[in-house]
Assembly symmetry: C2
Homo-oligomer: 342 residues x 2
């Protein structure tokens, strides 16, 4: 029983897209795992540039690429006929295709045939996972950080990636643990917990973050929110399966209503921390928050500092926008608490 | 988009089993939906008797049976070869087979062929459900009771069934809403929420308990527990999707450890109520507990009353074993709270 694993490194396929908004996955890969990206493959007319080497399929293979990533979001999640010849050629040449779209590429006959011919795979990152274990609640060795949030899409993935990077920069052993499709592509492995049968969510989270060295930190990408009625099941299973020692609360300063349930107000940060902590302590009595990560992109530059300072005073924890200040204060908080014996 | 629906009435198939422990589903059907049971179908040598009419396949069809229920649990969830001829005959004669086992009967070629010939269906009660909606959190008309628990298997289904029956006996409109396989067989419809992809658990719960008359009570069968790390995701999604106005806490007086996680202590009843209420109030600010349902079968008869009296004093709510005292005190509590404007 394993998490999903991707053969690295990647060549990022951009097709003939015109708008960089559609290339979010590709941009994320270049930002967070550039050493796993050999280059980009663009069709004539493509207007997006990820700032990495332009390759042909042949040159990508020559440079060691093992997978071609569909680094493109498309309307409706389907793929263009104009892309098929390159995708067929990739599979026939032994490159896996890593697919984050909703379309199951195995159902396209030309691709299924090409895969058989090349002995390659189509890795469906959104695919539901079979034969997962039920969560056991067993305490695992090593330590874990989980990013949780006041809602969906408030920076939980970004914060987890930045925190893992910052821990490593401080000489602390750490691994980013992916629980969603983009995160999985960046990490090269993981499980999309929102695609798992509900009985197995905490079991999936236990698999994602297995026993490790006692000084090692897994930084687990959070999903949803206990306060978002659409996705709270996923959040709860992930919280109980990851058994976090430390939590980081993520919030978007502009968010007033729950994204998928607009009649629901976003909770206060304090009540959000209280409930997550109450639930986390069921599986890990020493769980505690080490900081608050705020997306401040909506705030006027002149108001950012006052906003964060006031929050920090209210909550008694470092409050930063990781995109601006990085995660160093979270790492220091972690180390101070450790020194204080927490 | 619909919940799973079963064609009624049933004939209950018991095969050639020797032990009534294996006939729990059949016993549940006879207890809770006897008017939907035309009789039992037993093979030679069967030592279990549900106390209903013995029928042949022909007489079951003649009496209007629309479905044959596999009312038997088997080790490993598979079926015996000795049962196949009857099952083939049932499908060929247009009876649906309602299957609560893990085995997908569609994969047995003889049954697939018989189904095609008879124009009948194999209803897989444990089957994963496709194309469910994401939960919206929208407030629905009508009222809802949810049974929650300190753990799995502490009487949530039994209590919900008994409560729905008791409400009706008091002249109050009520419907039992099934969320697990046995419950679905009893109700003839429902969704097995633990088989749903985690992103859709609350959406499934919303489907199960749709808008209704303003004075009507849905009594929703709970699953798992927020305190059981194996299944808390299911419990949370069900809690948020069912938006309960009223909750009944279920507990087994003998249970000290969480069934699937034996290093975890069962929470106190008060802390269990506190956390469920905190989470319920996210979707329904007027949610409240109306009683505590205790499985007292492990207690010496002489200690039962003192145990329940003390609990009732501690918690300030009716505490009963529905198997002994019924649910009348819960109904009265509901009506008192209503009079008090709660």
């Amino acid at each position: 029983m394993n998490t999903l694993r991707i053969n690295l490194p990647y060549v990022i396929f951009l097709g003939d897209i015109q708008d960089s908004m559609l290339a979010k996955t590709g941009l994320g890969l270049v930002k967070w795992s550039k050493d796993q990206v050999v280059g980009q493959l663009r069709l004539p007319g493509c207007k997006v540039d990820l700032g990495v080497a332009d390759l042909t399929l042949q040159s990508a293979v020559a440079q060691g690429a093992k997978s071609l990533v569909l680094g493109v979001a498309t309307v409706g999640g389907s793929i263009s006929d104009a892309w098929l010849p390159v995708l067929v050629q990739a599979l026939e040449n032994g490159l896996d295709i890593v697919n984050g779209l909703h379309t199951d590429l195995n159902k396209i006959p030309a691709l299924a045939a090409a895969k058989a011919k090349g002995g390659s795979q189509i890795v469906n990152v959104r695919g539901a996972h079979q034969a997962l274990p039920v969560g056991t609640g067993r305490k695992r060795q090593g330590m874990r950080i989980l990013t949780v949030g006041t809602d969906c899409a408030v920076g939980k993935k970004y914060t987890a990636l930045a925190m893992a990077q910052c821990l490593k920069a401080n000489g602390i052993a750490a691994t980013f643990r992916a629980t969603g499709q983009t995160g999985i592509m960046i990490a090269g492995e993981g499980l999309a917990v929102d695609s798992v049968i509900s009985d197995f969510v905490s079991g999936a989270a236990e698999l994602i973050s297995p026993d490790n060295d006692s000084g090692h930190w897994d930084v687990v990408e959070g999903q949803g929110s206990l306060f978002n009625p659409s996705f709270s099941a996923v959040s709860m299973g992930l919280l109980h399966g990851s058994q976090p020692d430390a939590l980081i609360l993520c919030h978007d300063a502009a968010r007033l209503k729950v994204s998928t349930c607009p009649t629901y107000a976003i909770p206060t940060l304090q009540e959000c921390m209280d409930l997550h902590l109450r639930c986390a302590k069921i599986v890990n009595p020493s769980a505690r928050f080490i900081g608050v990560s705020i997306n401040t992109s909506s705030l006027p530059a002149a108001e950012r500092k006052a906003y964060l300072d006031q929050l920090q005073q209210e909550l008694g924890l470092p409050c930063v926008d990781p995109l601006v200040e990085g995660c160093q204060l979270f790492v220091e908080q972690l180390q101070q608490q450790k020194t204080a014996g927490m």
